[in-house]
């Protein structure tokens, strides 16, 4: 059993109050042994999440590049295929996600203020809105399946555009599928944060897990903010 005092190398002239707070944080297991202070730990985890999100931007960036190339090559086929998507469901989903970003931001705010019940309420709201999104997405996938718009041997479309439209729907399923996977992971993280909040780990001094989970959640929302117009709205005015 390591002795916590052995890890404490802060200079003797540090503010006594802060040191007491951090000794407490250490005993409660929220300050990892290799950090000197909660501030340092929070800065490190926040920077870590930002760097991770940069990686995610590049990950989706490859898909957006593929999309841009084929959108440029086959504009008419992409507009025709895009017309097959359900704009109403897409709009509802967009609204659900934007609202979930609001509830997430409010959850972070409640965490900073140490309002445990409000925090849990907003986390539940975020989870509910995320689940609504996934449910609607599942309905949309089911429609595409029944309409034979899933790429593969059974794919059906106007003869003129069939190959290019299949590329569009391939991109649709890969991009929204990876986005949905990120949503599922996000909901898992939120459930975990809900548990931590319920258990009382999250306090006004130690709220960075909520903050960095929120960063992830907002990122996944922003990906959808790009996907929605690119997949659902493109070239619509030209077809009416």
């Amino acid at each position: 059993m390591p002795d916590p005092a052995r890890h404490d190398h802060r200079p003797a002239d540090a503010f006594a109050l802060q040191r007491d707070g951090e000794a407490l944080a250490f005993q409660h297991g929220v300050l990892a042994h290799h950090f000197d202070s909660l501030d340092q730990q929070r800065e490190a985890t926040t920077l870590g999440m930002w760097v991770f999100l940069v990686t995610e931007v590049l990950f989706f960036g490859g898909l957006f590049l593929v999309y841009s190339v084929y959108r440029t090559w086959y504009p008419q086929a992409f507009a025709a295929a895009s017309h097959e998507l359900d704009v109403m469901l897409g709009t509802i989903n967009t609204a659900a996600l934007i609202t979930s970003s609001l509830t997430m931001a409010l959850a972070v705010h409640a965490a900073q203020l140490g309002q445990r019940r409000v925090l849990m309420l907003f986390l539940v709201a975020t989870i509910a809105l995320g689940s609504l999104f996934l449910g609607i997405k599942a309905v949309e996938y089911y429609h595409k399946f029944t309409e034979h718009h899933v790429p593969g041997p059974a794919f059906q479309f106007e003869r003129e555009y069939i190959r290019q439209a299949q590329l569009f729907f391939s991109l649709y399923f890969v991009m929204t599928g990876l986005h949905a996977l990120h949503m599922i992971i996000g909901i898992g993280i939120m459930l975990w944060m809900l548990y931590w909040s319920w258990r009382g780990t999250i306090t006004a001094e130690y709220y960075s897990p909520i903050e960095i989970s929120g960063l992830y959640w907002h990122f996944v929302d922003i990906v959808w903010i790009f996907l929605f117009p690119l997949l659902y709205l493109l070239g619509r005015h030209g077809l009416h």
């Binding site: 890890h7 190398h9 990892a32 042994h33 290799h34 000197d36 340092q40 800065e43 490190a44 985890t45 920077l47 870590g48 760097v51 991770f52 940069v54 990686t55 995610e56 590049l58 990950f59 989706f60 960036g61 490859g62 898909l63 590049l65 593929v66 190339v69 084929y70 090559w73 086959y74 790429p151 593969g152 041997p153 190959r163 290019q164 299949q166 590329l167 391939s170 991109l171 890969v174």
Partner: protein
């Protein structure tokens, strides 16, 4: 040599025994050793493929293995060496061990994530090993579409998934290093007091974080395309094979710098310690690392000069490729200037540093041949290309890796290796390397294409020289395995600073304690503070 040799009573190697104390460790030093075991294993798997290939090429006829087997051999050789040895070797072994110690921290910012990265690396490696034992894969390590997505009947998916998974190990390690270097430096350790190894590790981490996700999505698309017949890269379905090449090389060219930048960082440390001088023009060497990382992202098109790229794009990519020579040359000149009038050492790490500088120069200059469009068209897909990148990767990265491993081995193990054997093997490796790969420049220039198991008889002499060199090189790699392992038990105790070098890692004991320092150091000196040229530096 240090006069007093101290054996620390407690250090990271005796802080817990048994298999779980290693497999569940969060100590960056132990995780470094886990990586050492992993990359060494994959190095010998990849090396075994090379042995069979060079045996086959000893005669013009394709008599040892079939053409199909040969395709699988060079594919697995490339996959194992690039993704499971060269990319992780220096960052994940030496970087893991040294980054926290060099900045005076107790550990990396995210120790659990660090252990998780190792498990991801191993799982990715097992996927690729499964592909190997299940019958291999024949696409080449480049997975060019549509062969990889439509035609090949071999184990493309497990190999691609193995690389996909291992990519996350690179990303998470890069993330860990970036955050650690930003947030965990000891008081007084400003950016321009950092050892140059950390600058190059930082630049490498940037590439890992920015480039690796692109290869991840690309290989995911290759696997998805095989399963679902999407057609992104299949011209029969309206897709574009060259788009695959763009996506692939957007990562895989910067990956060259992931491999060589850390070796450059190691060489900066070796040259300073071996010459008892600060590295000449420190800020230039530091910024050269960043410049290489940035420029490295702008040159991928030089892999597509013959793939239907527009002539204007080709010209721009050619010019940008030439630009990489500038920061690379800055480093070579500055190392040379550091040696000038230094008290140059002839100990083993320094031998590897000399080897690196010479071989990297040859590899880099032949890279300029390949950046010139006219010459590139002539030598594309010949042994000239093979020789060029082996000079960078084997002559550069592996020389740097072995040099670093020897230099920091006393710190890692607390023991000294046999200097005579080490010098001998460094010499054997240098001779074997040049005998293996220099003839390949000639073969390529004469027109011998890569990736064939048979060749016209007039190429035999050079091929026999190359195969003979490979056997010497193989022996050279086996000897350090033996004496380093031997030194773990029987080597003389090293003491905390056997080289009389400066740097935070030499101020703590060998092996270091679990928390690296008994007290967080405060840094009041510049990097490479070899103030007076006299011997007897006090640790």
């Amino acid at each position: 040599m240090a006069s007093t040799v101290i054996t620390p009573a407690r250090h990271y190697l005796n802080d817990g025994y048994g298999i779980t104390s290693w497999l569940l460790t969060r100590d960056h030093k132990r995780i470094a050793l886990l990586y050492l075991a992993g990359v060494t294993f994959f190095f010998f798997v990849g090396g075994a493929m090379a042995v069979v290939m060079r045996l086959e090429l000893a005669t013009p006829a394709g008599d040892l293995v079939s053409d199909e087997t040969y395709n699988k051999l060079f594919t697995m050789h490339g996959v194992m060496m690039v993704f499971f040895f060269l990319i992780p070797a220096i960052p994940n072994v030496l970087g893991n061990f040294l980054v926290p110690i060099m900045i005076g921290a107790k550990d990396l910012a995210f120790p659990k994530l660090n252990l998780f990265s190792w498990y991801i690396f191993i799982v990715g490696g097992l996927f690729s090993l499964y592909a190997l034992v299940a019958g291999g894969v024949d696409t080449g390590w480049t997975f060019y579409a549509p062969f990889s997505t439509v035609s090949s009947t071999t184990n493309v998916i497990p190999t691609a998934l193995g690389i996909f998974i291992t990519g996350f190990s690179s990303i998470l390690t890069g993330l860990n290093f970036i955050v650690t270097i930003h947030r965990m430096r000891a008081p007084g350790l400003t950016w321009f007091r950092l050892p140059l190894f950390l600058w190059s590790t930082y630049a490498t981490s940037l590439i890992n974080v920015l480039g690796t996700p692109v290869i991840a999505i690309t290989l995911l698309l290759v696997a998805a395309e095989r399963v679902f017949h999407f057609g992104f890269f299949n011209p029969a379905l309206g897709g574009d094979p060259v788009l695959f090449q763009h996506l692939f090389w957007f990562y895989s060219h910067p990956a060259v710098y992931i491999m060589v930048l850390p070796a450059m960082g190691v060489v900066s440390e070796l040259v300073a310690a071996g010459c008892r001088k600060p590295v000449f023009g420190y800020p230039f060497v530091a910024f050269a690392s960043v410049a290489i990382a940035v420029l490295g992202f702008l040159v991928w098109g030089h892999h597509m000069f013959v793939a239907g790229e527009s002539v204007y794009a080709a010209m721009i990519f050619s010019i940008l490729s030439f630009l990489v020579a500038i920061p690379s040359a800055v480093k070579v000149f500055n190392w040379t200037a550091t040696m000038y009038k230094g008290s140059v050492s002839w100990e083993t790490p320094m031998l590897y540093a000399y080897g690196f500088i010479g071989l990297f120069t040859i590899g880099g200059l032949t890279g300029l041949f390949l950046a010139a469009i006219g010459i590139d068209v002539h030598v594309t897909d010949t042994y000239f290309v093979i020789a060029h990148f082996h000079y960078i990767m084997v002559g550069g990265t592996i020389m740097g890796y072995l040099g670093g491993l020897h230099y920091w081995w006393p710190k890692i193990s607390g023991r000294l290796y046999n200097e005579g054997l080490a010098k001998l093997s460094a010499g054997i490796i240098f001779i074997g390397f040049n005998l293996t790969f220099f003839p390949q420049f000639l073969l390529g220039y004469l027109g011998m294409p890569r990736r064939y198991h048979a060749y016209p008889p007039e190429f035999q002499l050079l091929n026999v020289l190359s195969s003979a060199g490979a056997s010497i090189l193989g022996v050279g790699y086996l000897i350090p395995m033996i004496y380093l392992t031997w030194s773990l038990r029987y080597g003389r105790l090293a003491g905390s600073n056997p080289w009389g070098a400066v740097g935070l890692e030499w101020t703590t004991t060998s092996p270091p304690p679990t928390e690296n320092f008994s007290e967080t150091p405060t840094v009041t000196w510049e990097a490479y503070d070899y103030g007076s040229p006299v011997e007897g530096h006090v640790a």
